[in-house]
Amino acid sequence: MTTAREIWVVVAGMAAANFLLRFAPMSLVSRTRLPEPVQRWLSYVPVSVMASLVATEILRPGGTWLITMRNPYLLAAAPTALVFVKTRSFLGATLAGMVSFLAFRALLG
């Protein structure tokens, strides 16, 4: 059984570990100018991260493949993207996505 004291050690350790992962690269990198190829690579990291997240969350929700036209995650992604492209509003697109997800899930049982 985990004691209260162990849990506090875990809490403190997790705070330290996660801050270190996030802060060390930022403070090291901003002091030096990175080589041009590395800068170019980093400039494509955001779009690649987004695509990786979207693909796995939509086609493997909960960690299992769901490649069918009855996948509410996949179906709801289309109106979400459409609303964002039309309105440029993240909040609007997120809400539209949640509503269409509920609708698709209800329709498909």
Partner: protein, 236 residues
């Protein structure tokens, strides 16, 4: 958002207005985090955390998947080193995000840099890099994004930890699609050129293929690093 790139450095707005703008930009993150934080609060109580410990963990780590894996390692009888190793591996992608974000950080004010680092997550990274669009990031606005994300995560955890059990099922409101919806919108906003689209396709394919084989967030890390590398060095 739709400001042309050349004007991206913020117009001379007050700090308060820039912070408020960040809060608005980050509002979808709050929507996505609250239900997941709530789940963490409930599970943490079941794993032997007190309500205060659960809230303190969310408030100081702000680590999403890293916190869930910690619970499962603890429940499986893993010691403190195993827990810390697991949370670090799951959140290794922050190293990548942190280095990428550093490219669009202004020199000053230095004092906000640790705050930005502390609130760096998949979602705040996505919102902030989209907002900066390859130019200099407005760090005051980015602090607002971080603040509201933190509020959603910690508030959700508090709700779950204090009211564990007596809660309506958040999936009734479509909460499990809040995060995918936001990522979809962010992805749509990030695709500016053909090379960006190619990076996205490669990243998605690699992430899917490897997430079927690898555990944790390794699939995503593989997709992100390879997709960006091929787009940057091979396709341009």
């Amino acid at each position: 958002m739709s400001v042309p790139a050349a004007e991206a450095p913020p117009a001379p707005a007050s700090k308060r207005a820039r912070f408020a703008r960040g809060l608005r930009l980050g509002l979808p993150i709050l929507l996505g985090y609250a239900p997941v934080g709530l789940t963490f609060g409930i599970l943490a109580r079941k794993s032997g955390f007190s309500a205060f410990q659960a809230i303190a963990c969310s408030a100081t780590a702000l680590a999403g998947a890293g916190q869930f894996i910690a619970l499962s390692v603890l429940s499986a009888g893993g010691g403190v080193p195993a827990v810390l190793m697991a949370t670090a591996v799951v959140n290794l992608r922050y190293v990548l995000f942190s280095a990428a974000l550093a490219q669009s950080l202004p020199r000053e004010p230095r004092i906000l840099k640790p705050v930005l680092a502390f609130t760096l997550t998949d979602e705040t990274f996505a919102v902030n890099t989209t907002d900066a669009r390859g130019c200099t990031l407005d760090v005051v606005s980015a602090t607002g994004v971080g603040a509201i994300a933190w509020l959603g995560w910690v508030g959700g955890t508090a709700l779950g930890a204090l009211a564990a059990g007596a809660i309506v099922d958040p999936s009734r409101f479509g909460a499990e699609f809040a995060m995918p919806a936001m990522f979809t919108a962010l992805l749509a906003g990030q695709i500016e050129t053909r090379t960006h689209a190619a990076a996205a396709v490669i990243a998605a394919a690699v992430a899917l293929a490897s997430s079927a084989l690898l555990s944790g967030s390794w699939g995503m890390i593989a997709g992100a690093t390879l997709g960006a590398a091929l787009a940057a060095w091979w396709l341009r």
